[in-house]
Each structure stands twice: as C-alpha cells, then as structure tokens.
Amino acid sequence: MSGLRDWALLVLGVAVLAALPMVADNYTLRLGTVFCMYAALALSWNVIGGFAGYPSFATAAFFGLGAYTCAILQSAGWPMLPALAAGGALAGLFAAAVGGAILHLRGHYFAIASLALAEVLRELATKLEWLTGGGMGLNLPVPAMELHAQAAFFLHLMLGVAALAGAATLLLRGSRLGFALRCIQQNEDAAGMLGVDTRRAKTLAFAISAIFPGLAGGAYASWTHYIEPPDVFDVLLSVKPLVMVLLGGLGTVFGPVVGAGLLLLFEEAVWRSFLTLHAAVLGVIIVVLVLFLPNGLMDATRRLLGRRGRGAA
C-alpha cells in the first residue's frame, strides 16, 4: 500500500531533519529551516492550487497575517507557542471568511482577488501604526539561548510546521474532501451536479492552505526577531510556492517538498553569485519551467529514464 509507504517517508524525512543539529553547523541549520519553511508553504499551496486547481496568490497574505499576529501577541507578553498557534488559527479563519466571498470566482478572477488580499493586508499593516509599528516594523523578544541551541530550536519549530503540513496532505489525499477537491479540479460543474458541496470543499481547502503559512509566518517572525510589511507580505512569498510545486509536480504529495529543495538549491547556488539579478534568475527558472517542463522536473526525469511513474498521487 502506497499510503503506508508515504507515511514512512514522511516520518523518515522528519527524523533526518530533526537529527541535523547533532552533526551540522549553524549555516546548514539555517538552510534546513528555510527548506522546512518552503516545504510547508509549497505543501499548503498544493492543497488549493494543486488538488482543487485554484491558482491562489494568497500565500503571502496568510504568511504575513500569521507573522504579525504572532509578533503582536508576543509583544503583548504571550509565550511563543500559543502566539504561533493563534497566528495559524487566525490565518485559517481569515481564509474561510474571505474564501466565502472570492471562491466563486474562476481562473484569472480568483488569481487576482487572492493577489489583492496580500496587497490590502500589507497596506493595512503599514497604515495601522498603533498596532503594527507601521513601516518601522516590529521587534520580537530574542529567546535567551546560546546560538547553536537557538538555530536548532527554530529548525525544529519550522520542521514541526512542515511535518503538520505534510501529514495534512497525506490525510487529505485519502479523505472524502481530497476526492471532492480532485473532482472540482477536473470539472467543477459536474462535481456540483453529482452532489459534491463544492462551496464547502473549496472553503475548507482554502482554510487548510492558510493555516500552515500562518504558522510558518509566526515561526519566521520569531526566528528573525524582526518583521516589516514588505518583508512578510512579499509577493514572492506567493509565487515561490507555485514555482516549487511546478518544479516538483502539480497535485502530487511529495512533489512540493522536492520542489522546495530544488528551489533552495537554485537560490543558494545561483543567487549567491548574482545578487542583483536575483529576481531575474527566478524569472528565467519560471519561464523555462512553464515552456519546457510543465509537468515538473520529476516527471521529466521519469520520462527521460523511460519508465512510467506511478502518476499523480
């Protein structure tokens, strides 16, 4: 049964990453933390973008909302973990509420509405200075820990978020909701006619795809000790998950994780030497992907090896 195998893979991956602090230096731990963050974002995007086929650009909105909620609550004296959980919960509730209004839109209209969410939240975060510090940003308390312990702590925190997102994806795949989403992706009208409550399924999927970015945003804020609106509501945060999922393969379970790793490798290898052309290089990757590898690198490798893969999910 492939289900059991996938759970084993997830547990194995989490175990390996969790053991990283015993052998690796702080730089590697930082990379590991970013990898977990990317994986969590890509897995979450895959729920709405891959399974349900709705091109969402709202990841940055959820990420920023989680980051600001966590930061504001911590500044008010909350401990880190409850503040983090509150950020994830608020992002999920926000998505459920907004989803009711925008999920009846299809295609480009949905993409734009979701893109505008992050813009509105960023503008609000800049304007509401009494709450968010405005353009000055917010400082968070720095945990009283030695550097390596701190790096290990935040790796484990982000790994926890990614593991939750992975587990949610695996649970979703086998569930009625996952089945409903794939029906919606293939033909929403037909799914509705056959009795799938499409509105409920889409809203749930949107909320699920918001919770983990919300948690990741909170973890990121705690990790960097400082956030500002352009940083946590950055449109690239909405685009990178999509690129990772395209890299790894749309609608698969581990594709997004593989894509996250690949994008991180690209970032480290290429962008270090071309700092000012950072965005342009990402652009080239995107263009090449869309034009030549629309089904992802994994699929291309499979075809290159002449073997037919198991197929999507």
Binding site: I102, H104, A113, K127, L242, L282, P294
Partner: protein
Amino acid sequence: MLYLQVAANGLVLGGLYACIAVGFSLVWGVLNVINILHGSFIVLGSYLALFAYQVLGLHPFLAILPVAAALYAVGHATQGLLVNRVIAAPVLMTLTLTFGLDLMLNNTMIVAFTADYRRLNLETPLGVLFLGDVVLPGDRVAAMALALLLTGGLWLLLRGTRLGRAVVAVRMDRDAAALMGVNVPRINAVTFGLGAAMAGAAGVLLALIFPVSPLNSGLFLGKAFTVCVLGGLGSVPGALVGGIALGLIESFGALWLGPEWAITISFMVLIAVLALRPDGLLGRRGYA
C-alpha cells in the same frame, strides 16, 4: 467648490487610468492571458520618453508614436515566440509565464536604470488652466486628452479595420475565427503587441505626471487590474468607465480619509466588486 476641484482631478486621473488599462483589458479579453508584464511595459515606455527628451530633446507628446511602435515590436515578439506556445494551457501556466518574464524585465530595468525615482521636467510647461474656480495644470489636461484620444483610436481600430474585426472575431470564438481563415496565432501576436503599444503610450503620458522608476510597475499593474474589474473585462468603453470610476473613487477617498489611504481603498474596491459583481459595473461581457 472643493468638490468640483476634486472631481476634476479625479477625471484627469481617470482618463490616464483608462489608458493604462485598455491594453491590459484587450489582452485579457482576447487571449485570456493576464499580462503581468503590462506594468513593466508602462515603465519601459516612461523610460524611453525620458531618454528621448533628455538625449534627443524630443517632446514627450511627439515621442508617443515611436515609443508605442517600439513596444508593439516587443509585445508582438513576446507573444509570437513565447506565450503562443502555451496559449492553450490552463490559466495558471500563462499567468506564471508572464510573471516570470516580468521578473526578468523588471529586474533588468532596475539594474540598467537603477531604482531611483526620476522626473521628466518639461522646460516649457503648458501653464495652468482656470475653469471657473477649478485649477488644472495644462500638461495633465493635455496628457488626459491624449490618453482619451489613444483609447478612442484603439476602439476605432477594433471596430473599423479588417485587422480589428479579426481581433474581435478571435475574442468571440477562436475556433470559428480559425475556420473563417483568420490566422489565430498571428492575431494573438498582434493583440499582445497592441496591448504593449498602449502600455508604452500610457507610460509616456504618465512620465509627465508621476516620477519614473521600475518600482512603479506593480502599482500600475494593480491599477490596470482594478480598472478592468470595475468596468468589465475586454471592452474599450468598459475600461473608460472603470478608469474614470477609479480616478473619482481615489480622489474622493483621498479627500475624506487622507491621501495615504488611496491605494488601500482601490484594492478594497477591487475585492468588493469581484465578490459582488464579477462582470463589472457595466455588467456585460464581450468586446465592442
């Protein structure tokens, strides 16, 4: 009297917004492609006007046609060589492709021109126009008039010429148009080129009013989105109505809530209209 002045400012702004949006709306309506490059095309047009004025001494009003022609070529090549290859793919793919191209173009402009805000200051401005108690800078009024002229020109092109009818035919039914002998890939490229040309022309006019910087491209793209959604997709009159509506909303919003809220208001309006009236205020699909 204050209201009259604010309304006049809103109308001037609205005419320019219509010009920003009409090319974007055309590409979206005919090709079903969201052209994320549109904002960067506008900025590129602004830079070309800036350099034409500073280096060649060419007045921006005279630079409109050459700049539009240059961007037409860029747009035609982009669609013909790249976007046409994935035009039949799901919306996510074309959207992502233009996004990637935009990252490349915008980043290149930042490296080539720096992100500094530059100004195009005319040596001999047109002076100030007094209409009763309403005061308007002449250059702005002229820019708006030209923007409306260009928008009207595109409308005439689409309604009155063989090429324009072919574009509208592709918009209405791609397959039927192909069966009637329309070369659809070529019309796709022409349409994208026209959209880019309108963006370039809008960029020239905007350079007279706003500071020029690659960082503005996202802002202009946002305006184009909002105008399209407000006015309804893919029609020249829709872009006009949407542009003027957005200009007035922003002017009065800035008056009542403070200028720093203008952008937030326009995005709020965008989401509200999308949620309530996804076909726009005019409420009909289709191309005039």
